[in-house]
């Protein structure tokens, strides 16, 4: 079916289309309600990769998970909301712009207030945004996804508040986690530097001692005192 010597426009279109193969069913198109409509396009190249099977139900999909194109009526679309959708959109943008300021200040200041502000702003932003992602892609297949996301986020928010109140708090936690070594042998800040030669090549390297918490109690003390190298130097001899 591929024509030789096609015009430039057609060959450009053929290059643009990677694969398009329609497999026609037995039923004639002319029997359709909306009149005759021919789908035979002989200018389409017949590459053999067929990405859309002719029988859409070759894999049996339960009726419940098929795509819906609703809500249909204005009443369905409005729902029962506290504010206009545009006002809610404005609130979302205000929060997002405020996060541009909150992120760097979370880097400079840690503490309980910063914990709460940081956590709540990120949480609300993520909740609303992921809710919109669900509305775009998942809701048409599975409408209750919004309720499930709401429940999950309630549980996650409870965990975050508990973490901020009864444990170290997210800003301190992220600071500590970021200081974890990403390779086994190198710590970010040096404890004891020794210079040596490697294999006689004359290259000078720094060796760094590795500090590993020997017990949970020690880790707890480490987390209470803060992970500063001065406090570790005092404990170095007793630890290693």
């Amino acid at each position: 079916m591929h024509r030789q010597g096609t015009s430039t426009r057609q060959s450009r279109r053929q290059r643009r289309v990677v694969s398009m193969t329609f497999t026609f069913t037995e039923k004639r198109r002319e029997d359709g309600i909306f009149g005759t409509f021919s789908l035979s396009r002989s200018s389409v190249p017949s590459k053999t990769i067929c990405l859309t099977p002719a029988a859409a139900s070759s894999i049996p999909v339960p009726e419940y998970f098929r795509a819906r194109r609703g809500p249909y009526t204005p009443e369905e679309k409005q729902g029962k909301h506290m504010m206009f959708a545009s006002t809610h959109w404005k609130v979302e943008r205000v929060l997002a712009v405020s996060m541009i300021a909150i992120m760097p200040s979370a880097f400079f200041f840690q503490g309980p207030v910063m914990d709460f502000v940081f956590t709540t702003s990120i949480f609300m932003h993520a909740f609303w945004a992921f809710d919109h992602v669900m509305s775009d892609y998942v809701q048409k297949f599975f409408p209750p996804v919004h309720k499930i996301w709401y429940l999950i986020s309630i549980v996650a928010f409870a965990g975050l508040m508990n973490f901020n109140y009864n444990d170290v708090g997210v800003t301190t936690a992220i600071a500590m986690l970021w200081k974890l070594p990403i390779t086994n042998a190198v710590k970010i800040f040096p404890l004891k530097e020794t210079r040596g030669k490697v294999g006689g090549t004359g290259v000078t390297v720094f060796y760094r001692r590795r500090l590993v918490a020997k017990s949970e109690a020690q880790a707890r003390q480490c987390s209470i005192e803060g992970d500063s190298w001065q406090s570790q130097r005092h404990r170095r001899d007793s630890v290693l």
Partner: protein, 174 residues
């Protein structure tokens, strides 16, 4: 009203074969509003599609991807990644049974593989956060009303990528 026009035009084309009239479908609500009639029409269209087993037209597989499109969907993908990471933290913490010091000690006692995993996670989070940060600022510029011309879209996109890489490097170095 649109349904009535359709029926009259199809009556001319179908010249005698009134299969659709004998099929037995009738609008579900007779004296309904135009919105409900439209809803019924859409519903019938999709049911008919399913009944005839019509294939879906190729879309994502054939359309040519260009830079602004990829940057836009990457913004959403990185945002979802950060969201999932941010939600997994408290969920693991709630249902894991250790406090933060316990998890910290556990992570410190991991071997080389564990630390490589920590490094990979750190880099992914840093990149996703930085990319989403810069792409969102670009989005805010559009929200103000600036930067819609095509060269500006491409230039701001490339500038955003450079700033993202710098910010990722900065975050990884910390």
């Amino acid at each position: 009203m649109a349904v009535c026009f359709r029926i009259s035009s199809c009556g001319k084309l179908l010249a005698g074969s009134k299969q659709w009239m004998q099929a037995g479908w009738v609008p579900a609500v007779m004296g309904s509003t135009s919105a409900q009639k439209t809803a019924n029409q859409m519903d019938r269209y999709w049911k008919k599609n399913r009944q005839l087993n019509r294939p879906l037209s190729p879309h994502l597989s054939i359309y040519k991807y260009d830079v602004p499109m990829v940057l836009s969907i990457s913004n959403r993908i990185t945002a979802s990644a950060v969201t999932i990471a941010f939600y997994l933290g408290p969920l693991v913490y709630l249902f894991g049974g250790k406090d933060f010091a316990g998890y910290y000690a556990m992570m410190q006692s991991w071997g080389p593989l564990g630390h490589t995993l920590i490094g990979t996670t750190k880099f992914s989070l840093a990149f996703c956060f930085s990319y989403h940060f810069c792409a969102s600022i670009r989005h805010f510029i559009w929200d103000i009303g600036q930067g819609y011309a095509k060269p500006q879209v491409y230039q701001s996109g490339y500038a955003m990528l450079v700033v993202t890489l710098l910010m990722t490097a900065g975050l990884m170095y910390l």
